[in-house]
Every structure is written in structure tokens, then in C-alpha cells.
């Protein structure tokens, strides 16, 4: 018993300190890293430490967050260079012996500190043709679908719109193709619509042209950073690419379309 007690006591006094190197913007649109050293309790996530710094050292430190449970996708940031949710990154997964860098998502314009202007994403979504269901299957206005037919769509609908995939995608991050490419998030969104068993809309022309599905060269960085573990590239983007290819580049497809009986 006495051993247990002393171990517990030791633990309490063994509270670790940690240094966060946080990106702070200045009023001229620039910024620099500022170090904040603080004590850390057991089980803390990165967002807890940011909050602690906010409450004790930097009350005007801007960061977005909401649910603190990995469900709303607000607290996206680059932690030691990796795009992650701050609320789901436990401190014990990071090396504590050197400063931990916390930066905003670099693919989006800065607002202040860790908060970025992600409004481009909202504008992109509005341009994608909405869901258009077939007429209901039953007189009460409902439909019948089998679970195995909706499993894939449900995977895509897990997306919490944290935009980490957009942040990491080199087409957006390095090549700034924001006007020509909608990014992994909205390819997943489009895939969810296109593979929805009830949907009757055709989004392939836009996918090929304005939305630039061809820009993706399948490096799978988006899949790696997805906090919801959506297999973005394999399950969403590649099938969409295949649909576009089938529609526009398959000579047998052309022939079939030209010759098939019109129904």
C-alpha cells in the first residue's frame, strides 16, 4: 500500500513540462513562431495544451475548435508538420523532449494565428450539383435500399469536413489549382452523391472539366491524413476517375452508346 501511495505521489509531482512553438500572426499579415512552455497533465491532447496557453499566457491566441471529440472537424492544424486534428492528437504520441510546432493549415489564407480562411471550401461545395433522388418506392414517400448498397456511401458520409485532405493535397498546396480542382474533400462528396443508390443526377461532365478530377495523381496523402479513416483515393477518387474514363475515353463505350437501343 505504501508503495502504491508513494508511486502516486511521485506521479503527481512528475508533471511534465512541454514547449509549444505556435505560429502567431502579426497585424501586417506576417507571423512568427512563439514558444510557450507549460505543464502538462496525464492524457492531454494538443488542444488541451493550446487551451491552457490561451487561458494563462496568450488570451488572444486564435484557434478554432468546437466539439473536442473529433466529430466537428474544426481544430485542424499542422502539428510538427503533420496535418491533424488538435483534439485527437494525444501528447504522449509526440516527442516531448523538443518543442512541438503548431501551425495553421498552410493551404488556406491566414485569418489569425491558427485560424485559417476555409471559405473556399464552402464555395466549391455550392457548385456541385445537389442530390436528386428517383421517385419514391413506396406510397408514403419512402425508399427501399439494402444495407450493402449504402455501406460505401456511408463511408464517405463519415466526413467531418476538417479539410485536412485539402490542406495536404499537393495540387492545392503546392500548385494552387483552387480554380481548377475541387480537392479530395469534394471528390469524396461527389462520390457520395454519384454512388448514392437513389441519385439520378449526372456529375461526370463537371468532374472532368471544371472540377478537375484528372489533376489527382493518386499520391494518397489525403487518405493518410483523414481522421475518419475514409479511403479517399481508393474508394472515392479512383472510381470517379474510372467513371470519367468510361464515359469519355473508352472507344468501346462510344460504340456501345452509339449503337445501343434507345430506351
Amino acid at each position: 500500500m505504501s508503495r502504491l501511495t508513494s508511486a502516486a505521489t511521485e506521479k503527481r509531482f512528475e508533471m511534465k513540462t512541454v514547449t509549444f512553438r505556435i505560429w502567431r500572426t502579426d497585424e501586417n499579415g506576417g507571423g512568427k513562431f512563439v514558444d510557450y512552455t507549460t505543464e502538462m497533465d496525464e492524457g492531454m491532447v494538443v488542444l488541451d495544451v493550446v487551451h491552457k496557453i490561451q487561458a494563462t499566457q496568450a488570451p488572444d491566441l486564435a484557434c478554432r475548435w468546437n466539439c473536442k471529440a473529433g466529430k466537428c472537424g474544426s481544430c485542424s492544424a499542422e502539428i510538427n508538420g503533420m496535418p491533424k486534428l488538435m483534439c485527437m492528437t494525444r501528447m504522449n504520441t509526440l516527442p516531448a523532449d523538443k518543442p512541438i510546432t503548431i501551425e495553421p493549415m498552410r493551404s488556406f489564407p491566414s485569418i489569425r494565428d491558427l485560424a485559417t480562411d476555409v471559405s473556399w471550401n464552402f464555395r466549391v461545395k455550392e457548385k456541385i450539383k445537389p442530390f436528386k433522388p428517383r421517385t419514391p418506392d413506396a406510397p408514403d414517400g419512402s425508399w427501399r435500399m439494402q444495407q450493402e448498397d449504402v455501406d460505401r456511401v456511408q463511408e464517405f458520409r463519415k466526413c467531418i469536413e476538417c479539410f485536412l485532405c485539402q490542406d495536404v493535397c499537393h495540387v492545392l498546396r503546392d500548385h494552387h489549382k483552387h480554380d481548377e480542382f475541387i480537392g479530395p474533400r469534394f471528390l469524396v462528396y461527389t462520390a457520395a452523391l454519384e454512388m448514392h443508390p437513389l441519385d439520378t443526377e449526372n456529375r461526370l461532365p463537371e468532374l472532368k472539366q471544371a472540377q478537375g478530377v484528372g489533376f489527382c495523381n493518386i499520391t494518397k496523402c489525403c487518405t493518410k491524413v483523414c481522421p475518419e479513416n475514409i479511403t479517399i483515393t481508393d474508394n472515392a477518387i479512383i472510381p470517379l476517375k474510372e467513371r470519367v474514363v468510361d464515359e469519355y475515353y473508352d472507344p468501346f463505350g462510344w460504340l456501345w452508346k452509339a449503337l445501343r437501343p434507345k430506351v
Partner: protein, 609 residues
Amino acid sequence: MATNYETFEYDVLIIGAGGAGLRAAIEASAAGVKVGLICKSLLGKAHTVMAEGGMAAAMGNVDDRDNWRVHFADTMRGGQYVNNWRMAELHAKEAPERVHELEAWGAVFDRTKDGKILQRNFGGHRYPRLAHVGDRTGLELIRTLQDHGIHQGIAVHMEHTVVTLLKDGNRVVGAFGYDRERGRFKIFKAKAVVIATGGIGRAYKITSNSWEYTGDGQSLAYHAGAELMDMEFVQFHPTGMIWPPSVMGLLVTEAVRGEGGVLRNKDGKRFMFDDIPDNYKTQTSSDPEEGWRYTQGDKNAKRPPELLTRDHVARCINREVKAGRGSPHGGVFLDIAWIKEKIPNAAEHIKKKLPSMYHQFKQLADLDITQEPMEIGPTTHYIMGGIRVNGDSQMSSVPGLFAAGEAAAGLHGANRLGGNSLSDLIVFGKRAGEFAAKFAKEHGVGQINDSQIEEAARKALEPFDRGAKSGGSAEGPYQVQHDLQEMMQGLVGIVRREDEMVRALDGIGKLSERAGQVAVFGHREYNPGWHTAIDLKNLLTVSEAITRSAIERKESRGGHFREDFPGKDAAAGKVNVVVKQNPDGTMNVRRETIPDLPAELKQVIEEMK
């Protein structure tokens, strides 16, 4: 001058963009009026995303004995009969249509074998009734409404906070606020305003609610002259995470128990069998085997006591902990891993049915719920009370001001059933949007009062003035917020006593003085210190309303448990507690007699007993 602020003009302005606000916006827009929607955070991030278990609608897809009458009776029983019965009736009748509508807008619910929307068991619901998507139903709801809503011509103002409602005489004619990104003031003129701002969880230390839930809507309405009702009824969800400390309060969905999870104390005993309230005895299983069969869809089995109403389960957990039978970190054990004794591939089954819970514990607590029991304890989750509204139209006691969702009172009475919140949002969000649009069509544009705006702007900026003057020595807002949360948790929490609540009132007075003196530093752009300073007024207002209402209700009922009045009082069961601001700014508390149920509804309740 007020005319210098950017001004927007709408027919209907909706404050809050969770399930209720979005649904209201869609409905108002469909009625052909110009709609503005204000969200405190980014669109689609509201607390609705946190709802896990599902939305209750008596569609009868899994058990065809279900219908609106059963749902109505369940809701009234759960609410201990102080509900607004008209709302409970409309909710039970209209929820199925609202759910089907979501499917028409692209929602993808889990399916039954015959391809219909699957429904699951939940606490207090007699039959499997919750349409769901795994344990992320709230995300499905908000995303469906968002993705449909963005094509309906609604003007969305993201990351804006409203600081006051604008009035023309008795009527509400708009709102005044600022954008959080740049800190610029904005005027929103509107013929009707819908408040859909959600709850008040941030008044407490241990809560499942995010930072946004600071009682803004209740406070805005109160200061605009509206009545609040049932504020004493705060729901403490029985299962929140308690370890590690940084996730304390985070919700563990009731669906864990719906899927067969059981509660045990440190001795391994399923203590819920020891205390089954009389009005639920006939519906509750008497042995673990029957309870298990119920969770697996046996229509002849009765539900296990873990699925009794949330208020009761939370108190039982509290009792176990106080009696020294709790878990190491001060809660009890919630065990779903045990079902491996019953079914093959239990681990895979749990991951499929409760994916978010599996990841939540794996990532945040290093715990595999398919192998080990979770440690849980009660967490502040929801407020049944809120803005007092007309059951049909959702209009408050102030003309032109409507409320829906958690911000409104009535549907849930003294205790909300799990799953009745998401359906509340869509049923009454729709109604609020519909009737706000109707009001807007019938009324002209109101007159905005410049001096009211200037006064609000001056007040909002005061913390900066104090910061500049103090040179860094003045108190910031975070400590005041923290102290309020500690105090409400300790003195107006799950078990209440008159003397403690009187102390809390005194404490609220002192905290209000401190809140009036807090200082913030820096500039107005995305300044969380400033935002917190502004939220304090709302938190203090709702905390006072909760405390005064809780003192007024001298009995125990639903979410409100009085150690000094542990029993139910028949007379108190016939009234709602209503608060309203006196002309001198103090808070008036009164009892309002609940109107008699019509004979037809009375009969429904009798039949379902």
C-alpha cells in the same frame, strides 16, 4: 453612428445553424421569404454533430406496434407530465414525415433487412424507434440539412455572434452582433427572428457541450423580454467519459447500452436492477437474460434497467460512487465487451455498431472497448427548459421572436428521452421556420433604434477599454468563467439543496460584478478572450435562471433532484416555473399552471400505462 455599421435586411433571421436553425431556414426559405442564417462557428460544426444515437420517430419499421400514440405517451412519461403536451403530440405525429424528408434530401440511414430505415432501442422508448447511422446520426442530420440548405438561397453568416436583439416597442425586429473573424459590428434587420442556439452546458464544469453552448439564445430572449420556462430541468447524461481528465464529460452514447452494454460497480454488480421506479416496473426486465434478449430485438422481452430514463440512471450512478462502490476514477463501469459471451465476432460487431465510441476510447483513453469496460460518470448534457413558446407556432411571449430546438422549452418536460432531441430539431425547426415566415409576411419592417445599437456596441467594447487602462493587471474572462462552472457544478448540479443554491445565487451576484470588470487585450480580430468576455453575460443569466427555478421547485422530478425534497409533489407536478425580467432588471420567478390535457390525449396516456 449606427448607420455606419454594415446592415443586412431579411424577412426572417435565424440565429443558430444546428439542426433546428438549418431546418427553420430551409422551411422559411421554402415559404418564399428572404432568410438570413447566423452561425457562431463554421457552417456544419454546430453541436448537432455530436448527437450519436439517433432520432426518434414512430415509423414502426422494426416493430409495427409502434405509432405516434406510444411515442407521445413515452415522451410524457419520460418528462414526468410537466411537458407542453401539445408539443409532445405534434412531435410524435410529425417526426416520421420529417425523417422521410431527410431521406429525400440525401440522408443515408442504416437499413432493415427489407430495405427500410432501421430503428434502434433507446432509453424510455417502448419500441425500437431511433432512425440512426451507426453512432454518428447527428453528423448525418446536420450534413443533410447543410447540403440541402446551401441550394435554397439562404444567406449564411458564419462565425458571427449576436450581442443583443433589436426591438421596436414590444416586437423583435432584428439583431445586432459582430463577426468573430474581424470583430466588425453588423446590424441584421428582420421581420421575425428565430432563436435556435442550443443549450447552456458551458455553465457547468463537466459537460458534453462545446464552447458554443453558453446560453446565448435563452439570454438574448430573456433580455428582450421573453419568458424562460423549466430552467431547473437540466439533463445530466449518465455516461460521460471520466478518464483521462482532459476528456472528462465527453459523451458516451446511450447506444452502447442499447446494443447490450451494462453498468457495473467496482464489485462487478449490475446495480441498476436494485432500483427500478414504480412507473417503469411493468416495462423493465427482471433478469439480465431478458434484458439481453430485448437489446437483440426480442419483441417479447422487456428492456434492461440500464435503459431507464437518463435522470434515473445518472442518480443511480451517483449513488454507487457516493457509497464507495465506484470505479478508480470516480465513476462506474460501462461494459459492452461482455457480449463476447453471447455472440461470435463480438469485437467486429461492436466496431460496426459503435464505430465512433470505439475510436473515441482507443484514441483518447488508450482503451479497447471490445475488450475492456469503460469508466463513465454523469455529464451535463442538455437543458429541457428554455424559451417559453407556443406549441404550434414556436413563437415566444415576445411578438416576432421564435425559438426551436434545445433553446425552446416544453417538449421534454422534466427529462428528455434520448433520441427525442434530433426529432425535436426537425419537427419544431420546421414549424418555427414556417410560422416565422408567416409572421414576416403579415408584418412590416420595424424601426431600428440607433441608441440601442450604440449602447450595445459600447458595452461590447468595454472589456478592451478596461484592458487598455489596466496595463495588464485586471482579471481576464477565463477565470470568471472557470469559477462559475465550478460553482454551478458543485452547488446546482445533479443533487441540489436549498442552502447550497442560495449560496450559488450569492456567488452569481459576485461573479456578475467580476464579469462587469474583466479586461481583454489585443485587437478585435478573432480574439477568443473578447468572445469569452461577451459570453459571460449569457452564462450568468442562464445560471441565475437555473438556480432560481431550481429553488422554486420544492420537489424532485426528472432532471431536477432535491436532496431536501426527495419525493415528487403532486401540486408541483401541475405547474411550470417561469422566469421573466422585471422592469428594474431583477429576475422574476413565478409558477404557471399547466393547461389540462384534452380528453383524447389523457386517454392515450391511460391506455399506455
